[in-house]
Symmetry: D2
Subunit: 112 residues, 4 copies
């Protein structure tokens, strides 16, 4: 079994052992991702660029794991492959952000 | 090459072709994840449970891809394996949420 | 002194007593608002409509106060009057959401 | 009529003219605040401290107005006075963050 399948299996077993599927509608999963994202951001709050790079990797690891867990569960719910959808999005973004216009600038595509 | 490595390669090449690594400090990547999460949530805003399940899968796919992309880039920056960190977190959560106490309830671990 | 001025005075005194103005740049204040918003949302996570209305008012009160506090501080920083900017935005929204098109629907203005 | 009451009246009239009260349950209002917060944060994304202070005040004004609008509507729904709840929270925070321990540091209260 590949590792992605192994992780999805571990996540859904954890969920089903606790009878939590009833709570995992799409809207609540999306909300959970957002709340976990805020917890990741809280690590960096009030810190300048340098201080932000010096936070403990362990903290990032735990919050990022929560974001990924709920993201994987939402993907699983909708039969989306996490890798395929990222590869598809890169193609879309390549058109929105052509190298010659986007190079070295953080402007949004509608301001390029 | 496995698919995870393939996706990381595609993401970092996209980034480097545009000279965007300079913007991708940890604090901004975390902020980007949070903003993309909000865009995912906006799909479900004002919708009740049933309406929320009827949104177009294509929309979820695109916003989830953005969340995953920035999450993968943050993981790559800190040499974190997206699967290992989720598996590690499941172990931590298994202790916080023992089956006998957590079954069928959405209470937070400190209220169990 | 009106109550808005009184609150701004209390917030800035609290901040200055602790020498925190140095941390309160616009980007971090915005991030703080977002993090506090997530804490407000966490109150409602996994709850359906009815359960969500039965949460303790005290919890909403505390999280909403945090959102408002950082919002007021950001407004104060940029010399924005919290009431004037809301009244101005209502005018903009009245054009985006004309009553005859927007009545009874939660669609976004670009879908009306 | 004081200005706060005037603004609440304008917000609820805007809502009721469009028959939107049906969508404004607490959970969705909280979600709306969070989404608007993300739009405020997007103004500052990828910008360093100095660049972030140079964004157009007009942009901050519009996004902050959205956050305040939904916050005021949530307060109105629960009969909370926006000023009283902030003043109450300042008292709570004064105990969590005593001046002698919190001065000049951005540490969270549980790390002081």
């Amino acid at each position: 079994m590949d590792k992605y399948k192994e992780v999805i299996k571990a996540l859904t077993e954890f969920r089903d052992d606790r009878d939590w599927k009833q709570f995992h509608d799409s809207k609540n999963l999306a909300l959970a991702i957002s709340i976990e994202s805020a917890e990741l951001n809280e690590i960096f709050l009030w810190k300048n660029g340098e201080e932000a790079e010096n936070v403990k990797k362990e903290k990032i690891k735990e919050e990022l794991a929560d974001i990924l867990s709920f993201s994987f569960l939402l993907a699983e719910k909708h039969n989306l492959d996490i890798f395929d959808i990222v590869l598809d999005k890169i193609k879309i973004n390549a058109e929105k952000y052509p190298v010659d216009k986007a190079k070295g600038t953080a402007k949004k595509y509608d301001e390029l």
